[in-house]
């Protein structure tokens, strides 16, 4: 190859070729975001930077971004660390010339949807004047008539509006509006944080608008939505739960805005108002930013089977004492069937032509449109008007003749529920792959928030690209890769630089500490307990593994007896059987220890405890440092690898990896967080778990009389498991404490208030934690346990078969269990179970009450996305 043939810009030229090839293969001319139709390279500066990195450098950045996303737990939901969040490092870049007209179109469309929404729950003038067909809404399951006449303060009823837009050959079009409870503002910010780290020089050179200000806009909008006269509103973000698909997004938004992230059980209605349950108190809630679909928000007036909302909420909203954002019922304008009518509504309502339209759309409720759809089905994308009817995109050309026939029958039966659209050849954007850059169909999620009378558009968004090159459209339900979106700064200052939050009367405003809900307190407590359980089980396994190496082949020796005792203790404490095979095969014991470490499906194992710790951490991630989730994510990875590995199992290696992670977690909680309620509940869980584990260990080791030689080894082993062996030896050498090893060990592990591993120490900490006015029931439960560790009469309990000791430890165990129940009852108790009833119209008397049951298929959750 001569020098002249080496491409000057190999990446860009190869990408241009790939784009051309894709266009040829698909027989159309979809635009590309970086390569013009004539093959001309746009955004030369960006390409220059990409060329400098080369495929190798780009792949390295892709891996780095994936690692960072994993450490952040983006895309992860409880109960598992879920599917990975996929981010392509190459941002989508807009300059102001391109962005400004698009933003204008988005603003106008938000104003229009707001006007329609306001009208539908108010005067219904648009229906009465036949500007919009009524069937389009009454046939949409998002039109919630119990919300009729309910409004929030301010000029706009649609505070937050999302839209998925795509660029076709003729410009930008709206694929879907998101008005229910738009997700993704948090994801957009998360992507920005990742991409600015791995593409730092490009970002610095580009001067893209920051996104942080958009959160001030959101804060402002939420405050403005507060009921009249409330200057310092309490705002909460209502989530369907930690296993919702967009849990990370919810947590990040809640954290950035400083609002408690709550679930249904954390809220209640009393005296016609909404309250947040926090400890023993209840706090008025003025604004609920919801991530639960409207129909699930109140089982009294909406879906009776819902457990995701708050009974009585709709009535509270109607009275105007709480504002729900977006208002319940806003999902009705997520309605693709409106498309053919929007231009004339825009002219009528706004006096303007529609600037940003959908692709050509036919609503099947209109007879002429219906017949067009039925005769052209194979070249149209069939779309239900409501997103609850899935899938939401059904390309006619992908259907078999039989499927099309079935589709036609469905349309004939419920024509109002269907629309169809021309396929848009949506633009492509480059995605990094091993083979170089690949052009992928792209759609852009944009966001607007109402500020007073107008809408502010987020200068950026969340780009979603198809998971393979062949797909002509992006179908979110089938997995996507995301991209960061950069809007280069213009001459004007962004709108939010003028925003000022209304200061509160007390001057505290939103800076007040978010209250800890019972659910969050419970998750933190169990986070502490499971983290401690993972640690103590790992210690047991590590010591057992050592003993196996040293003693398994010498039956009858003291060491062998100690091993048997320890394995028995392990079985008792974890519920996972560990014992010496009659043939003393080392392999069998090692296999059991392996199970104890990495079998995540069995109760009592280390992996099980790690998974529970992770779940609890993810449930309250908005309260924790990102490092917490990162440490647990890495540990989970390590355990996953070990589970899949064929290499010889290394129990010491795995248990020490677990111990290191546990110590790192303990370090974060010990040294890096303020001593507030968050810390308190985690620590309380840890203390109680440690006390119980210690009592269990003592019961199954020294509470039984053995030969002095065996006992000496067993005592040492118990002390090693408890990380107290060195102290013990020093004391023995100095003649401090009892000369009987078992008694000395008991002193150190049960009674010694200065040993951070002793039962006494844990109980002292618990008394301290619950020293407040409302801690009396817990303190008395702690005292009941603590008195058993005080003035222990060693002579009495160590006589005979040590029955006295066994009884003491059994009693102590019972009292610790009682203490845990007391803490749970006082702080984490859920509300009583609720159920729905309706009096049927039945003649006569004495019939049984009817309960709603199974009359509708339960969705896994009413999570908005």
């Amino acid at each position: 190859m001569s020098l002249a043939e080496v491409p000057r810009a190999p990446l860009a030229e190869r990408y241009a070729a790939a784009v051309a090839q894709r266009r040829a293969a698909q027989g159309h001319s979809a635009p590309d975001e970086t390569i013009g139709l004539d093959g001309e390279i746009r955004a030369a500066k960006t390409w220059e930077y990409l060329e400098g990195l080369g495929t190798q450098g780009l792949m390295a950045r892709r891996r780095e971004v994936a690692r960072l996303a994993r450490d952040e737990g983006i895309g992860a939901t409880a109960p598992a660390l879920g599917p990975r969040w996929q981010v392509d490092p190459i941002p989508l870049i807009f300059d102001q010339d391109e962005w400004a007209p698009l933003a204008e179109g988005l603003q106008q469309r938000a104003r229009l949807l707001d006007a329609i929404l306001t009208d539908l729950y108010g005067e219904r003038r648009l229906l009465k004047s036949h500007l919009l067909p009524a069937e389009l809404f009454l046939g949409h399951d998002g039109y919630l008539l119990p919300a009729d006449g309910v409004t929030i303060p301010g000029p706009r009823q649609l505070p937050v509006a999302g839209a998925d837009i795509a660029r076709g050959p003729d410009g930008w079009v709206v694929m879907t509006d998101r008005t229910q409870a738009p997700a993704g503002i948090g994801y957009a910010l998360a992507n920005r944080r990742l991409i600015t780290r791995v593409m730092e020089p490009l970002f610095r050179a580009s001067r893209a608008s920051t996104l942080r200000g958009f959160f001030d806009v959101m804060q402002h909008a939420l405050h403005r939505a507060a009921p009249p006269g409330v200057t310092s509103p309490r705002i909460v973000l209502l989530s369907p739960g930690p296993s919702s698909e967009t849990a990370y997004d919810q947590a990040l938004v809640a954290t950035l805005l400083g609002h408690p992230l709550v679930v249904a059980d954390d809220l209640m209605v009393r005296d016609g108002a909404v309250w947040l349950r926090a400890g023993g108190r209840r706090l008025r809630v003025h604004v609920i930013q919801r991530r639960v679909d409207g129909d699930w928000m109140d089982s009294l007036e909406l879906r009776p089977e819902s457990r995701l909302g708050v009974p009585g909420l709709m009535a509270a909203a109607r009275r105007g004492v709480v504002s729900v954002v977006n208002p319940i019922g806003a999902g009705v304008v997520e309605n693709i069937g409106m498309a053919p009518y929007l231009n004339r509504v825009a002219r009528e309502v706004l006096g303007e032509d529609l600037k940003l339209a959908a692709p050509q759309t036919w609503w099947c409720g209109d007879p002429a449109s219906r017949s067009h759809v039925l005769t052209n089905m194979e070249r149209l994308v069939l779309r239900p008007i409501s997103r609850s009817n899935r899938p939401t995109l059904r390309p006619g050309w992908e259907m078999t003749a039989a499927a099309r026939e079935q589709m036609a029958a469905q349309i004939e039966a419920e024509p109002w529920a269907w629309a169809a659209q021309e396929l848009i050849d949506s633009s492509t954007a480059p995605v990094i792959t091993k083979e170089g850059l690949s052009p992928r169909a792209m759609v852009l999620r944009t966001f607007r928030i109402a500020v007073d009378d107008d809408y502010v558009v987020m200068p950026g968004g969340l780009a979603k690209v198809a998971s393979n090159e062949k797909k002509p459209v992006v179908q979110t339900e089938r997995g996507v890769i995301t991209k960061d979106v950069w809007v280069l700064e213009g001459a004007q200052d962004p709108v939010w630089s003028f925003l000022r939050l209304v200061p509160s009367e007390e001057g505290t405003g939103i800076a007040t500490m978010p209250a800890l809900t019972p659910r969050a307190a419970g998750d933190l407590y169990w986070l502490g307990r499971y983290a401690e359980r993972a640690e103590s089980t790992a210690r047991l396994v590590a010591v057992a593994d050592n003993l196996v190496d040293d003693h398994i082949s010498r039956p009858g020796s003291a060491g062998h007896t100690a091993l048997e005792t320890l394995l028995d203790a392990v079985s008792q404490l974890t519920g996972v059987t560990a014992r010496i095979d009659p043939d003393d095969r080392q392999g069998a014991v090692i296999e059991q220890l392996r199970t104890l470490l990495i079998d995540q499906d069995r109760l009592g194992t280390v992996s099980f405890a790690v998974e529970r710790t992770t779940q609890n951490a993810l449930s309250v991630r908005e309260l924790l440092s990102p490092e917490t989730v990162g440490i647990l994510g890495s540990l989970t990875d390590r355990l996953d690898q070990e589970r899949e590995s064929d290499d010889l199992f290394d129990a010491q290696g795995v248990s020490s990896a677990v111990l290191q992670s546990c110590l790192a977690l303990a370090g974060i909680f010990g040294e890096s967080i303020v001593r507030d309620e968050i810390w308190l509940f985690v620590d309380a869980g840890r203390r109680l778990e440690r006390a119980q584990a210690m009592v269990g260990l003592l019961r199954h080791t020294i509470a039984e009389l053995r030969s002095p030689v065996a006992e000496a080894v067993i005592v040492e082993m118990a002390l090693r498991v408890s990380d107290s062996l060195i102290t013990y030896r020093r004391r023995m050498a100095a003649g401090v404490g009892s000369v009987v090893p078992a008694i000395a060990a008991l002193e150190l592990l049960l009674e010694d208030a200065t040993n951070p591993r002793s039962v006494r120490y844990q109980l002292d900490r618990l008394v301290h934690h619950f020293s407040g006015d409302d801690g009396a029931p817990i303190r008395s439960a702690v005292e009941a346990a603590r008195e058993l560790t005080t003035d222990v009469d060693h002579d009495a309990i160590f006589t005979g078969n040590r029955e006295g000791l066994a009884n003491l430890l059994t009693d102590l165990d019972l009292r610790l269990r009682d203490l845990s129940r007391t803490i749970e009852r006082e702080h984490f108790a859920p509300q009583r179970p609720s159920r729905a009833f309706a009096v049927p119209e039945r003649e006569g008397t004495g019939q049984a009450a009817q309960r709603w049951s199974g009359d509708e298929a339960d969705r896994p959750d009413g999570a908005a996305s």
Binding site: P133, L300, P304, G312, E841, W852, E856
Partner: protein, 300 residues
């Protein structure tokens, strides 16, 4: 028959009582406690008594103009009693079914659809299927056989109440709130609520808006017996939109059109919009018992 359509005055006393095995610590209710005025009736007086005393009792109007009440009770209780008492003047003239025969079912559907004077919201609300009034193949098949498109409208209305009455057995306890229309059609039995839904579905399926009406009917004691206090019932029937936007009420449970013995509480797309009393209770469990006693007394 003229007397049945002349003016009458009634008092209605309606007690609904729930007894719970375990304490209910919180109770939220939504109820239709105040009858609405209609072209045929005027509500002269109405009173509501609830025990235990509610923390909140609030009246509002729903999207169809019915009165709806929010009830919140935090006082722990094992019995919830809701009593409503109204005095209502009714005069419900006999509709001219003969005149309605000017349209066939199909023509009536087309005329209603094309009439710009009819409120599109109301028309669509009562024409499309709803959660209980489903319009699947079974329901459509039933409707098309019952109300052929060429049948004159007046005749169709009469056919609907006649045939449902004749072909379905009135049986208490075979259906529940979660019984579906295809199940009712298959079993050929049910109670007023089921028959009202079935009539509503039949008209909607052939393109004519129809609504579910909740209210009361005066009953007389079986021959030779004295009418007992509380032996009346809350009742449900169907109402059909006719060309011009008027409504004709029919009662398939009792085989006739509505008359001055019918007292309307509320109307909606189906039972769910207008259930007389529904709620959410917070309780640790246990069963509950419902007692309903209705007395409809003629005052003139």
């Amino acid at each position: 028959m003229n007397g049945l359509h002349g003016p009458r005055r009634y008092s209605v006393h309606h007690l609904t009582e729930y007894s719970y095995e375990e304490d209910v610590t919180m109770s939220f209710g939504r109820a239709m406690l105040r009858p609405r005025d209609t072209p045929q009736q005027r509500v002269d007086q109405h009173e509501v008594a609830i025990s235990p005393e509610p923390d909140v009792l609030e009246e509002s109007r729903d999207a169809f103009g019915n009165y709806s009440h929010y009830v919140e009770i935090s006082n722990p209780h094992t019995t919830l009693a809701v009593t409503k008492t109204s005095t209502i003047d009714v005069e419900w003239p006999l509709p001219d079914l003969g005149a309605l025969n000017a349209w066939t079912v199909a023509e009536a559907a087309a005329a209603i659809c094309a009439d710009p004077a009819i409120d599109p919201f109301e028309r669509a609300a009562f024409q499309l299927p709803s959660r209980i009034v489903t319009l699947g193949e079974t329901e459509r098949g039933f409707a098309e056989e019952l109300l052929p498109s060429s049948m004159p409208l007046g005749e169709a209305i009469e056919t609907a109440y006649r045939r449902i009455y004749a072909e379905f057995t009135y049986t208490k306890g075979v259906t529940s709130i979660s019984t579906t229309l295809p199940e009712v059609i298959a079993a050929r039995e049910g109670v007023c609520q089921d028959f009202a839904h079935l009539a509503v579905a039949s008209f909607r399926a052939v393109g004519i808006p129809a609504r579910y009406v909740s209210g009361y009917i005066e009953t007389s004691a079986p021959a030779g017996q004295v009418k007992l206090e509380g032996s009346d019932a809350s009742h449900a029937w169907a109402s059909v939109m006719v060309p011009g936007g008027g409504w004709v009420d029919l009662d398939p449970t009792n085989d006739h059109l509505a008359d001055s013995r019918y007292l309307v509480t509320a109307w909606g797309r189906d039972f769910r919009d207008v259930s007389p009393l529904k709620g959410i209770v917070f309780t640790d469990g246990g069963s509950s018992k419902l007692r309903v006693a209705v007395t409809v007394k003629r005052l003139d």
